[in-house]
């Protein structure tokens, strides 16, 4: 079946602009994660959605970052007033939460460059 998809693949923006990154998880997966991969910080957790529960936003680096998941499926990560330090690859992953079987499957990522 189809894997996790993300769009756009690459995004170049100017400092101060807002950007939206999209993630389409694997159909039927109840959990969705956003991670950030940067040279200086490695792979960092950003936010976690599980079913209808309130999202775990504990990894978001600042209030300029927000995310939503509509209808328990597609998710959008929004970065407002982008800064150069936001340049990174943003990875989305989804999983089916089942006892002893949870494995996260990743999308190809969105490479964000803030000029």
């Amino acid at each position: 079946g189809a894997g996790v998809s993300q769009s756009p693949s690459n995004k170049v923006t100017e400092k101060g602009k807002d950007v939206e990154l999209r993630c389409d998880p694997i159909s039927g997966h109840t959990a969705l994660y956003w991670y950030r991969q940067s040279l200086g910080q490695g792979l960092e957790f950003l936010i976690y959605f599980q079913g209808n529960s309130a999202p775990d936003k504990s990894g978001l680096p600042s209030d300029r970052f927000s995310a939503e998941r509509t209808g328990g499926s597609v998710s959008t990560l929004t970065i407002q007033r982008t800064q150069q330090e936001d340049s990174a690859v943003y990875l989305c992953a989804s999983s089916l939460v089942a006892e002893g079987r949870e494995t996260q499957y990743f999308g190809p990522g969105t490479r964000l460059l803030v000029l």
Partner: protein
């Protein structure tokens, strides 16, 4: 909090040879999962192998196997009969069995398979 350490930033192996990538972790959890992910230049994070902490038997997937030492908190990956397509970044990752199931990643090992 959990930490994952990969002490080998780069490794090189000849095609058809065997190579072992090291990973250690620190946690106070008793039940958890460990993963090895592969990230080729295409950026797609691909699951290589997973291990449940409650299982004493080491996981194997074709040419990939792990040496899981729970008491030592060690989780190494052995790649047998290395192939050129194995060239990639390899990340070791930890996931708790309860609560927030975000992955905690190591810093990665860059593996180059030489022809």
């Amino acid at each position: 909090a959990q930490t994952v350490t990969q002490s080998q930033p780069e490794m090189s192996v000849q095609e058809a040879e065997t190579v072992t990538l090291s990973c250690t972790y620190d946690t106070s959890e008793n039940n958890y999962y460990l993963f090895w992910y592969k990230q080729p230049p295409s950026r797609q994070m691909i699951l290589v192998i997973r291990q449940e902490a409650y299982k004493q038997q080491n996981a194997t997937e074709n040419r990939f196997s792990v040496n899981f030492q729970k008491a030592a908190k060690s989780f190494s990956l052995k790649i047998s009969d290395s192939q050129l397509g194995d060239t990639a970044m390899y990340f070791c990752a930890f996931m708790k069995d309860t609560g927030r199931r975000a992955l905690t990643f190591g810093s990665g090992t860059r593996l180059q398979v030489q022809p």
